[in-house]
Symmetry: C3
Subunit: 139 residues, 3 copies
């Protein structure tokens, strides 16, 4: 089985956002798979996807703090500044975290660990809606 579906995420503020429920809800066909993979792909260069702790909102806030410290705005080495001070850091953060996740599906469910959740990482101040392309594949 191959299935591809676009999932449009509503605009969210800059930061890290838990979207596991929204993604799984958009893909009821996962239930039909004995074994397979879900590939999630974000079609942007200033937002990204990662997997991390799904319980404490302070973990997601601390992610934002670390990334803002590690990839600072207004650093002297940025030359691509026309699109605003949050633009170039957003590109670097997006590549550090990556544009896709490949997640195992077993017995009709995402085979995540107990504490793993899917994060949308919004690196722009006003990123607008974000488009994901989900590719489901398995038997």
């Amino acid at each position: 089985m191959w299935l591809q579906r676009e999932i449009t995420l509503d605009p969210r503020p800059r930061g890290f956002h838990l979207i596991t429920r929204e993604v799984v809800g958009a893909l009821p066909e996962l239930r039909e798979l004995r074994a397979g993979l879900l590939h999630l792909f974000i079609r942007h260069t200033s937002a990204s996807l990662t997997l991390n702790e799904n319980a404490s909102p302070d973990v997601r806030r601390d992610f934002e703090s670390w990334f803002d410290e590690a990839v600072p705005e207004r650093a002297p080495y940025w030359t691509h500044t026309l699109e605003g001070p949050d633009d170039m850091p957003a590109h670097v953060k997006a590549s550090l975290l990556g544009p896709s996740l490949s997640l195992p599906v077993s017995a009709g469910r995402l085979a995540l660990g107990t504490w793993q959740g899917i994060y949308l990482c919004e690196h722009r101040d006003r990123g607008g809606p974000r488009s994901l392309l989900a590719t489901v594949h398995g038997e």
Copy 2:
């Protein structure tokens, strides 16, 4: 062919550990594939997987040094500190390196470069055993 198998890794100290032999040894079915992919997925949010140099132990030590410098414990911006000073840095390191690897399989073998080996990246002081889910798929 779709195959899924859990691989439990014994507890290892904080640091970067070469696990190529252990992973390949747990998946004898790789030999039956003409072409395919091995997806390795770690079901935790404070350990990760990467691919890097398989020969010099000092490379793995230097990885630990860099990550400890780049994602410091006891930084003023951490608010999620209840689970110990190594917890929040472990979450960030885990997302920087990522929870999965997709590796090509060709003619019955992992098609890695000469110097590439699979690293378990243990970011906690006492992470305990770690659970991997391997998904093998090909023809």
Copy 3:
């Protein structure tokens, strides 16, 4: 359909290089896929692959600046220095960005966002030719 093909990239200077056209040109079979995935894998530990902005060369220059600042040469914590000051930073940068990309294929084309392009990230001063293994899979 499973297809595997090696793509050899000519030597490029240290930095970030757009290779979308070269990769797609080497894989005319993508046109035959209704839905699928392209897995690109670099068989080296001092170069990597990422996806980012495909229009402005200054974005790629700023990537190089940020990575050189974040993973400095001649830092006091490096012990693996025999292969030159650019070697150990190259290993760390390669793992931060990762050795592979999984990209969706829809209706015969890479389903990238408008601004997304494939970067070869060359982290060595003289990395030489680089070998990619492409695995195409779909229906």
